[in-house]
């Protein structure tokens, strides 16, 4: 495998794993963010069961993405995780509460019990989305690294306006994504309610996306440099805009499934734009760009990258196949049964 640029392949693969996570757990987190919008217990249960069978598997994309990052680019894994210590601890707590709330919520009938886990579920979901966005925002902006590639900033230094804007945009994106998924999985009165929420979420996201685009072009010019150098890459930006525009179009026509696909395409193209402008850096160092971690200086050995590629080539198609089968088994509207949450 000497003639394959393994470092670039793994840059793409890690990106694919995190994109998979965003698309799949994105609707789980979005559903979580919308959870408290209804106060009826029965409706909350139906919404929860829309993601019930699949959220666990969706979270695995994050775990595997983290593992792949560790294996392929250990320097990045070590720098980012130790540098963003408190942010990641908060993210972990949020994900813990999100996960156990789903399992515990409907196990007891008491009002206080359900209220407690409902709030954990919603707050955990919103906080996770926000923190993921803040992390991406900081990556786009660049973080201070020293000559050893160690993080040289502080926790509060991560909470600047631009990353927070990306955080809010991520919450909006996941809410829209989750609401459209919810529309697909429900019927009757709740379905109509979700349509209303989805419409508002689409508007919320489009506004955020417009602001983010403007702010990025004005203040984070490096996020457009690759496009400047290779104008054909504008096709991806164009695809992204068309995807966003297509969401309300299909949704208005009642093609919920196509609206959902457009929402997935929006996420994929956003991640692609982020990746293209980041490449070949994984962690851009600002103010000292020479300390950046890139696909060469942060990577594992060629041998490990090669072995991992074989593992991925065996594993990923199998995973995709049975994941598709499982989604097929649970297709259609949510039906409450005795084994539901």
């Amino acid at each position: 495998m000497n003639h394959i640029d393994l470092n670039s392949v793994w840059f793409v693969l890690v990106g694919v794993l995190f994109t998979g996570y965003a698309i799949l757990d994105g609707f789980d987190l979005g559903i979580g963010a919308l959870h408290l919008f209804t106060s009826k217990d029965e409706e909350r249960r139906v919404i929860l069961n829309a993601i019930g069978p699949v959220w666990d598997g969706n979270e695995v994309w994050l775990v595997t993405g983290g593992g792949a990052l560790f294996a392929a680019f250990p320097e990045v894994y070590a720098t980012v995780f130790s540098g963003f210590y408190l942010a990641f601890v908060l993210l972990l707590c949020a994900l813990i509460f999100r996960g156990v709330a789903i399992e515990f919520r409907s196990k007891q009938p008491m009002r206080w019990w359900r209220q407690m886990w409902d709030i954990s579920f919603a707050v955990g979901s919103i906080l996770s989305s926000l923190l993921i966005g803040v992390a991406i925002g900081n990556m786009a902006l660049g973080i201070p690294l020293d000559a050893h590639g160690e993080f040289a900033g502080t926790f509060l230094g991560l909470l600047t306006p631009y990353p927070l804007l990306i955080g809010v945009t991520t919450v909006a994106l996941f809410m829209m994504h989750g609401a459209i998924y919810g529309v697909m999985k429900t019927e009757g009165e709740l379905h109509d309610k979700l349509r209303g929420w989805a419409l508002n979420a689409i508007i919320f996201f489009v506004i955020c996306a417009a602001i983010t685009t403007m702010v990025t072009l004005l203040y984070v010019p490096r996020m457009a440099e690759a496009l400047k150098e290779h104008p054909w890459l504008f096709s991806i930006a164009l695809l992204n805009m068309l995807s966003i525009a297509n969401i309300p179009r299909e949704f208005h026509r009642g093609n919920d499934w196509l609206a959902f696909v457009s929402s997935c395409a929006t996420m994929a193209t956003l991640m692609a734009l982020f990746g293209i402008n980041q490449y070949p850096n994984l962690v851009f160092s600002s103010p000292n760009p020479e300390n950046s971690l890139n696909i060469i200086n942060a990577a594992s050995s060629q041998k490990t990258l090669g072995i991992m590629l074989i593992i991925a080539c065996i594993g990923v198609p199998v995973v995709l196949t049975y994941t598709a089968c499982i989604y097929w088994i649970f297709r259609g509207k949510v039906k409450m049964t005795r084994s539901s949450y």
């Binding site: 598997g57 595997t64 983290g66 070590a78 720098t79 601890v89 813990i96 990923v316 499982i326």
Partner: protein, 469 residues
């Protein structure tokens, strides 16, 4: 306290709490496969009821395992960044393989196991249950592979030097410790440790089933359900405890060969000697901190015999290692002996249970039923002690012989930050544990659902039963 102490406490707390759950998932997974197989084979709906009840318990342990497990994967990076840089080439690939081969399989098919009862046929459901169980076992494989590299590293070389030195893989399968690789180059401890860990997990699942069933028999509730569950549970428990003794013996002999300082600490042996005694029950005399040794009831020559199958063999003592290379002896001795003691007690309990069950006297033997009710604590405590022994015995190294624990720390993280996260995790984990026990107790008190004696949906179709020959 300094960053090192706080980070070690935090890692110990988070991994210890996490490790309450995976053995339960692996063990209950095996029990579910057996129960569903019995249902497929016999068509008796009581096995359907049984599988459904234990699926509920499985879901609970699985959810907590996932929630606390994700912390572990992030924590290498947050608290042990220097370690992550050093071993990333090797350790990272094991974790990634675990994600691809184990976690996806487990959590994907979990959907069918939990929510597919009336959506798929019996055979498809059984297949899903097998896949979940298999995924849980794969997870054990890869995590043991990763941990075994920290214990007895093989198949690597060190590149660069000083701050940037790191271990890189030279022979993947030797690093993994795969059985088909020549014994001279492969990781010598992976296979022993894997079997020992997995048997421990089977014990945990089996004794949980035994414990709950014995409780129902004592309370004279769900008796038919309880008798059959108890039967399955006790047989698995007996097999698992016997295997546990065998794999434990083999594992300990491996430790003697590959990590002699660790074995010396386990047994509190200070002087290198032939005809070395085994201290059965005792404590570590630390009056001279440079010469810690165990005192208590000892059997001469037994340690030599157990490690080398020869009463006159020489066993290396702690004196062969400079004090800075020795693990802390007192805790190692305590953890190891506690684990072994519990293991043999469980073996005895399983033998008694099977014997009384075979004589059809178990339901009337209340004292034994009470012992069985509390037996579930045995494997859980032994699992914890075993891992404490394995990891504390590895000290002062984070990667045995290559990198010392303090050298693995994150350089940019301060003590106050770790203290904050430690307090946060402690609070959350105590809360989660209380809720777990509360919900588990509720499930057990509620018992199996009588409606589950009648399968619904596609499962009700009789054509999926294997026809009798």
């Amino acid at each position: 306290m300094d960053v090192l102490t706080l980070s070690r406490i935090q890692f110990g707390l988070t991994i210890g709490f996490h490790y309450i759950y995976p053995p339960l998932s692996i063990g209950i997974g095996v029990m579910l496969v057996i129960m569903e197989a019995a249902w497929l084979k016999t068509g008796k709906d009581i096995y359907h009821q049984m599988a459904k009840f234990w699926t509920g318990v499985f879901a609970l342990t699985f959810a907590l395992g996932v929630a606390t497990g994700i912390v572990m994967e992030f924590e290498f990076g947050t608290n042990w960044a220097a370690y992550s840089r050093f071993v990333g080439d090797i350790f990272g690939s094991a974790l990634a393989a675990e994600g691809i081969f184990a976690f996806f399989l487990e959590s994907g098919f979990l959907a069918v196991l939990l929510f597919g009862w009336d959506k798929v046929s019996r055979k498809v459901h059984f297949f899903a249950t097998c896949m979940v169980c298999l995924g849980a076992h794969f997870s054990a494989v890869w995590i043991i592979v990763a941990n075994s590299f920290m214990q007895t590293p093989r198949g690597y070389h060190i590149v660069d030097s000083g701050m940037r030195s790191r271990a890189e893989v030279t022979d993947f399968w030797a690093m993994v410790g795969a059985p088909w690789v020549s014994a001279t180059i492969r990781n010598p401890s992976t296979i022993d440790r894997l079997f020992h860990t997995v048997c421990g997990a089977w014990c945990t699942g089996a004794f949980l089933v035994v414990s709950v069933s014995a409780y129902y028999l004592l309370k004279k509730k769900h008796e038919d359900f309880a008798r059959r569950s108890l039967q399955i549970g006790l047989i698995v428990a007996l097999i698992a405890t016997v295997l546990q003794a065998i794999t434990g013996d083999s594992s300990a002999r491996g430790v003697a060969k590959n990590q002699p300082a660790k074995l010396a600490a386990f047994e509190g042996l200070y002087n290198t000697m032939s005809n070395a005694p085994l201290v059965l029950v005792g404590y570590v005399d630390n009056s001279n901190p440079l010469q810690p040794h165990a005192v208590g009831i000892e059997v001469p020559g037994l340690l030599s015999f157990m490690t080398y199958h020869d009463f006159h063999a020489t066993v290396t003592g702690l004196e062969a290692f400079p004090p800075q290379d020795r693990p802390p002896v007192a805790p190692c001795f305590l953890f190891f002996h506690g684990m072994v003691g519990i293991g043999f007690t469980l073996l005895a309990v399983a033998v008694l249970g099977v014997f009384y069950g075979w004589r059809k006297k178990l339901s009337q033997t209340r004292w034994l039923l009470w012992i069985l009710v509390f037996s579930v604590l045995g494997p859980e405590i032994a699992n914890q002690l075993g891992w404490f022994a394995a990891e504390v015995g590895r000290q002062p190294w984070i990667v045995y012989g290559l990198l010392r624990t303090p050298e693995g720390l994150s350089k940019v993280v301060e003590a106050n930050t770790v203290l904050t996260s430690l307090i946060l995790f402690t609070f959350i984990y105590f809360l989660l544990f209380a809720v777990f026990i509360y919900v588990l107790n509720h499930k057990i008190q509620h018992g199996p659902n009588p409606d589950d004696l009648v399968p619904h949906g596609k499962l009700a179709l009789p054509d999926t039963i294997i026809p009798k020959k």
